[in-house]
Symmetry: C3
Subunit: 330 residues, 3 copies
């Protein structure tokens, strides 16, 4: 049994240039070099899809998609990623209803059952920490965190970082604007940590008062290598931002509808007017989606609006690359 425990430990460890067999639970596992490796493969995956090449890279491999909470984008992009590479998926959506957990089976047993049928487990779960718990339960196959509660959603941040990398050819010396629920948003927290791996980045934070970073988070994230600057009005948005990253205010985070509506009323929405007044020409406008109260559809036609174009597509390419690397196929 000692061997298995050791292996499990190694699975969740830092990647350090070796993706094969690793669990992907947290962005903290990635170094700047690991991201470079991933992005090089991602570029190849993009070409493969655009050329409609029929890849058999994952032929004979089975990926369980265990989605304990609904997520159309993440489910769709993982399913598409596996199949575009010739692999197969075992799709379980809302497995709390469908699986034996309704009969009282433990979460660990469910994970081990699907481990027996597949080569990778992709897990989406409402509970923070569920991905790590699954990675510990799975003894032989890697687990990918596709979002566990308010904790982490590393592949979202990987695609966000790739979108910046593809646009600017680098991940250092960038100025960005992060807007929305900095208090709760796992995507904002993770993006800050991802950009902290590279020198000379500055991030401006604009949130309703009640949704700002806590002083503790602000201090902690500031020490990681990125310069954080809080601003309090659209008038403070600096012209030199390379990207804007908008996030929605999530109703489920609030104790009462009143508190939610108060936060929403104080939220900034991207309009053509706002872009015209505060954005430079070669910046990009990003949103992790779903877009609810964040960006006016009138902006969609602007070529700087990448959220429904390259950003969403990069989710497919990045996940293809990650799967191929974890399975040792590139």
């Amino acid at each position: 049994m000692t061997q298995v425990t050791l292996e499990t430990h190694n699975k969740i460890a830092a990647i350090t240039s070796d993706f094969k067999g690793k669990d992907i639970i947290s962005l903290d596992q990635f170094s700047a070099e690991d991201l470079q490796t991933l992005f090089a493969v991602t570029g190849k995956m993009k070409q493969l899809v655009l050329n409609h090449e029929s890849s058999q890279l994952l032929a004979g491999y089975m990926v369980s998609l265990l989605f304990f909470e609904p997520s159309s984008r993440t489910f769709g992009s993982f399913a598409s990623a596996v199949k575009r590479l010739g692999g197969q998926t075992l799709d379980i959506q809302n497995p709390e209803i469908v699986t034996s957990t309704s009969k009282g089976e433990s979460f660990e047993d469910t994970i081990r059952v699907f481990e027996a049928y597949s080569d990778v487990i992709v897990l989406r779960h409402r509970t923070s920490g569920a991905a790590k718990q699954a990675a510990k339960a799975a003894q032989f196959v890697p687990v990918i965190n596709a979002g566990d509660g308010t904790n982490e959603h590393p592949t979202q941040t990987l695609l966000d970082l790739y979108t910046l990398y593809e646009q600017f050819g680098r991940l250092d010396s960038l100025n960005g604007l992060l807007v929305g629920d900095a208090y709760n948003s796992r995507t904002i927290h993770s993006l800050i940590r991802g950009l902290s791996l590279f020198p000379n980045n500055t991030l401006y934070l604009l949130s309703p008062v009640q949704l700002r970073l806590t002083r503790g988070d602000f201090a902690r994230l500031s020490t990681q290598g990125v310069k954080l600057i809080e601003i309090s009005s659209e008038k403070d948005i600096p012209r030199e931002c390379h990207f804007w990253y908008w996030t929605r205010v999530q109703q489920e985070r609030f104790a009462s509808p009143d508190e939610y509506h108060s936060a929403v009323q104080n939220s900034l929405i991207v309009t053509p007017h706002l872009l015209h007044d505060y954005a430079k020409q070669d910046m990009i406008l990003m949103d992790p989606l779903p877009r609810v109260g964040t960006i006016d559809p009138a902006v969609d036609g602007d070529e700087r609006a990448v959220y429904l174009k390259s950003q969403i597509r990069n989710g497919l390419y990045t996940r293809m690359a990650l799967l191929a690397l974890i399975l040792g196929k590139v």
Copy 2:
């Protein structure tokens, strides 16, 4: 953006011998020649399935099956059609629960997300007009209407027409009997329009009084090239009909259970006796299914009963042909 708008316009346009990249929203897009093209390919697809050939025609292609309302037959035949041709599907059933629409995402954004992950979108929706709305939202991939409310279900009519074509070698000079809910049934309306593309067809309509075509619909459809004759009793069924097409009375169309039951009580059911008395030997008996209060199972063994045999199977072959044509693979 102009280019995209133009492209979108062209996508929903008449097919005029060029299926590639077209949305399939309405039967009105098809000319008699387009149907001939489709049916020639359909015949080849039938042979492919019967021979268990392992086709790779759609290898490397992904088809999103977005079913916002349940439909076992249509879902099953589209999924089977894609996979029989070596393609892959992205299956979302009941996506109103599963997807981000539950978080407030717009329908257009959901469509554009799945557009990013796939090469074709097949949409089933409760709302009339949803397919056209989706086709406008999707800028790069074709959308196939798999039934949008009471509006249209063009692939159902295509398989109905193919079933007639395969049986009689032509779609002109046919006499047919259409029974059931002529007032609401999209399949009856579409079948009339499809047969209007060919000369010398006569259709007899037999419905409970409250479920007859409106005078407006009757007049409009009569001008399209087919001869419509309403009859009021089984005794009026002419012996020379080439086909009978039975449709169920749909409870969900009625304001009250009483009105529904009154309509059902006045509905005609096919029995061996009715077939014996009014049908000729080389006719066929069709039903778009599900069969609820339309045909006595005692009829199933009759060789004229094609609804659970060639008619249902033709749904698979027709959809295989349509997908291959839209993707430019034949």
Copy 3:
């Protein structure tokens, strides 16, 4: 029609060395020779999976997985089995909601619709006898019973028997301990019948008083070739058992929560202590899962505990073998 009826009869008949085209409804269809055939193929399937060979044995074949009740393990292992062999699946989970049965379609019609789209139907259903009913409705493709109510779940027993066969190299001259709900458990009943095909087996039964075999079942099963011995306490467990087979007490079988809790309180749980005191070293501990109140997770690390290891994996290999045999591919 006579021909169809005859064919249907043959489909559900005894296998007698010819799996091709047969329905798999009951363990009673299998002879000892049939099991040997199946297990020889199962061993090959295991090697294929372990070597990540990309098989195309079922290329061009479609398997409908109609799961009218949830079952993560059985669904997952059948889906994985089909896809590991290069086949495709048509997945319908909870079809009572999804399919036309919600519109009033008969069960037989639903089966015949999916028959038209696929080459095999795998059916899971809450109702005893549903699999046989489906096999009668399906005229052209085989039906596999993936569990029908309290009636049968033959592939579960096939994997259980294979697990014993793989461990001991034989299915005769074994001593086993069966624990739990002998009154209701279809897996216990079927395992007894399966082991009755081979000489010189002895099975010890240990259940709470209210969950023992009925006198009728005890007498009937005793005449089939296996020696049955009821014991009443852990102290009676003989040291020489080759295997222990634990089953949970299923709440849904009891009229009231009180009766259920009374039965559970009198149930025996496997602990490291129990294994130490009563099990020999080269025995195996089995559980059909889900594990609810049957085995202490502290036992999982014991190498005799196969339930989450070889036993669950054998479910995949056995079903691969069965599908390949039924489709005449081996």
